[in-house]
Amino acid sequence: MKKYILKRILTLLPTVFIVSVVVFLLVHLTPGDPAAMMLGDDATMEDIAALHAKLGLDDPLIVQYIRWVSRCLQGDFGTSTAVIGQKVSDMVFSHFRPTLCLAIYSQLITILLAIPTGILAARKRGRIADMITSVLSLLGISLPSFMMGLGLVLLVAVHFRALPAAGYKDLFTDGLLPFLRYMTLPALSLGFIHAAYMMRMTKTSMLEVLSSDYIKMARSKGVKEHTIIGKHAFRNAFLTVLTVIGQGFISALAGAAVVEKLFTIPGIGTLMVDSIEKRDYQVIQAITLLIAMLNVVINLIIDLLYGLCDPRIRLE
């Protein structure tokens, strides 16, 4: 297992390198002089040149890249060019918590919703339960998340007045109950599309596993039906579902902008949209890097979980 973990981590290094180069170049190749942008319209040529020298913008690209990487490794992402004096790391960090909490909550809902219904649909193939889940999953796949969000707001918040229509409460400073009250609708609209997908994947992989020989063997041993489903079948079907969970996490983190805007949640998505409007390149760069690295980390975690769940992979 140790060898497997080490191998997984080593194979990530090239990816991390390429991602960092791309993110670095992304900002350096965008038109416009960041120094001129920081100083505003009425800056003199001398001022701009002085800032250039101070920021090292005239150094060769390689030197700039190495300097940037070593700063990033120390958690220093520079200062914002739009909000004077603000450290980028502070801005990103404070906006990251709502996004992360929202992503985790929405994925929890997704998993708890999709996996049991997927299993149920596989068990009751061709019956009403199966039909309902098929319709729901079709709905989930064809409905964009902002439509889903709007619909939920209209129904639950406006019509039934059951939950607030927008706003943010933090899990750690405001407590669990306010968090759940405010975050359930955003989490649902963020997770629904993925829940539909996960449900279908659970169903198809369960169906495949249930028709396999080792399930027949387990039945011929006298294993009870619920143990067949829970122990023999789901453990195998879960291997497919695990990948889907990873994808869900990534898309919940990277794709939260629409939902965050809709529910006015001060998350990474909101910060990204604001920074794009203000051309705050330092922040954009930091967020892009963060999302890309999260992608890598989540994939690593999924790989490791995969190794944990599937003995055939672990030993290779």
Partner: protein
């Protein structure tokens, strides 16, 4: 030898398909005695697997399958048992082993877990007791270093080892009856012989009945006391191995025996020398099912189906030619 364990009579199994209900096996009857190995042979698709899986009621989807007839196991009719009772029979009184051990063992569970499972279910064994019994079983089926094997996963074992593990799982609760559905087809020749020897050894050691499904008539000749020959969902001939091999009565059995490869040849060769092809289930002939391929078929054969009738010395045959 006269102690009957299993008595199947008039067993028919139908599946619901797009074309309506199809009878995969039709009126199958046979018995298995304690300590006996009964061979079940016939061409591919004749219903050997359906017969064995119907005995264990492994086709569980109620609306998709229909059983008729009776399957008496030591005095209880399995087909009329409630499903929950059937689960207690499986693995405790009847067990089954399959052709491909790699796909029949759960890839994510250890060998130990899979052997101990029937012990936990049927004998309520826990912890060390279950472990000790699992080790016993692994030793019984001839697996070296059983303590290590217990912690391993199926993919870590060789093909022959996996087959032994599957046998150990099936026999963990010492069932009265073992159904082996082509247990050696997926193995190479030397391992095949070892596994067959093991099955014969265990059959004597545990005094259980065995139904051995196989394509290999040479194996039947070496290991079975009796043999039943199936054709298109029916048993066409049944009897003691020496009788049937010396004096096959049904033209189909004769064809099969004529197509037997010589003992020094490649024993894995499949049996397909009889002329003609097997009709599909939904276009079954109304008379004798073998008539379209039978060199002796008469109009009578084509019109009316013969019944399985005993002739002499415990041999029975389903053929009009033997009626006189």
């Amino acid at each position: 030898m006269t102690d009957t364990i299993l008595s199947v009579s008039n067993l028919s199994t139908s599946f619901r398909t797009d074309r309506g209900w199809l009878k995969a096996i039709d009126g199958v009857s046979f018995t298995v005695h304690r300590g006996e190995i009964l061979g079940l042979v016939g061409e591919s698709g004749c219903g050997k697997s359906v017969t064995s899986q119907s005995i264990m009621r492994l086709y569980e989807e109620k609306r998709m399958v229909r059983y008729e007839g009776t399957v008496m196991l030591s005095g209880t009719d399995l087909l009329s048992l409630p499903f929950s009772r059937m689960q207690h029979i499986r693995g405790r009184d009847i067990s089954m082993i399959f052709q491909d051990a790699l796909s029949s063992l759960n890839p994510v569970l250890t060998v130990g877990d899979q052997i101990m499972e029937p012990l936990r279910i049927h004998q309520k064994m826990r912890g060390d007791a279950a472990r000790a019994e699992a080790l016993n079983m692994l030793r019984l089926v001839g697996i070296p270093a059983p303590e290590t094997r217990l912690r391993q996963y199926p993919h870590e074992l060789s093909g022959g080892m996996r087959q032994r593990v599957m046998i150990a799982i099936a026999l963990a609760c010492h069932p009265q009856l073992l159904i082996a559905d082509e247990p050696t087809t997926a193995l190479d020749v030397t391992i095949q012989a070892q596994i067959m020897d093991l099955i014969v050894f265990l059959n004597r050691q545990l005094a259980m009945g065995v139904i051995l499904i196989t394509h290999d008539l040479a194996v039947v000749a070496q290991t079975c006391q009796r043999v039943a020959v199936m054709y298109l969902g029916q048993i066409v001939e049944e009897g003691g191995v020496p009788d049937i091999f010396d004096r096959p009565l049904h033209p189909y059995t004769r064809g099969l025996l004529a197509s037997i490869p010589r003992m020094d040849g490649d024993r894995r060769e499949r049996l397909h020398v009889i002329d003609g092809t097997v009709p599909l289930l939904h276009q079954m002939p109304s008379g004798c099912r073998f008539a379209p391929r039978c060199p002796y078929a008469t109009d009578h054969c084509r019109k009316e189906m013969p019944q399985l009738r005993s002739v002499s010395g415990g041999q029975s045959v389903r053929c009009w030619r033997e009626e006189e």
